[in-house]
Amino acid sequence: SPPEKPTIIKCRSPEKETFTCWWKPGSDGGHPTNHTLLYSKEGEEKVYECPDYKTAGPNSCYFDKKHTSFWTIYNITVTATNEMGSNVSDPHYVDVTYIVQPDPPVNITLELKKSVNRKPYLVLTWSPPPLADVRSGWLTLEYELRLKPEEGEEWETIFVGQQTQCKMFSLNPGKRYIVQIHCKPDHHGSWSEWSPEMYIQIPTDFRVKD
């Protein structure tokens, strides 16, 4: 029989310059089936085919910089075809501005310090994900960190805006903490995955002076 209708499952831009869409094929109806991704852009009649089926792996289409426009709605469909016929997915509307999901922050450092009046505190620093061009101002990232004592249940989440460092004064003396950071574009898009877990042992004398 003809192949089942494929489904476009996700489109993502990791750095607001390129983007990739993935689809999930339906059943192939017992025949070799191939898939074609077609798209049109708002305000244009012209229909284009996926520029690159390879770079992002199977059942995907990668749009490089040249093929990526912002503030423009893409109307994307995937057609499954075998010798018995073909079937088209539902259209998937994408404005790349809204599908930016960065990679996690990198180069995270944790350091225990003592302030002028001997008060101990923890300094966390990190860098934006390498792919993200924050230097030019094209992409502006906001960060959020979470931490909890190793055996604790509840994460404490702290939004730190666009800073890439944070000072923590009130931590539980003698505890071993897990720390993670993630980031998001400043207006639209979604949070990155959390960075890998990092650990820091708070010394028992990490006491606020009596």
């Binding site: 607001k16 310059e17 708002e42 910089k65 426009s69 503030w71 709605i73 061009d133 230097r135 207006h187």
Partner: protein
Amino acid sequence: LPICPNGSANCQVSLEELLDRAVKLAHSVHFLSSEMFHEFNERYAQGRGFIAKAVNGCHTSSLNTPEDKEQAQQIHHEDLLNLVLGMLRSWNDPLIHLASEVQSIKEAPETILWKAAEIEEQNKRLLEGMEKIVGRVNSGEIGNEIYSQWDGLPSLQLADEESRIFAFYKMLFCFHRDSHKVDNYLKLLKCRLIHDNNC
């Protein structure tokens, strides 16, 4: 640090401060426009397929705005500043009417009415700032007049409810998109002009 150490002689807000404030204000305007658009969309536009009709209808679509990073970086900063100024000018009049006409929408929630007034005021404030910045960067003259005429007032006053709601939807969709462009271009300009592309 006294504001004007040697009296009023060439005592002015620095370009860096002007751009920093413009970026903050543009960020705030877009935040408000996002909230307003999503709230209006939730309340009045669900399942009515407005998006497909709205996309090609923005009155500012004639303005040649960059659609990716390369295009934005290739434009000379004076032209990009002028473009931002032109976009803000093109929205000044429509936002005045939006703030008044939105009152006539049936059961329009207070939050939408407040945001419409706040957006109009902040956009005007940002326009004032951009005229100052452009005047400062273009050493005095305010550049060629980029402007896109808006003729949407009659559609906001239509008797037919569906058409009138769509007119509001389209306006909010277009301003939501344009205010994000302004926000993004200003962040680029600030990093280029003040931080030598090393924000």
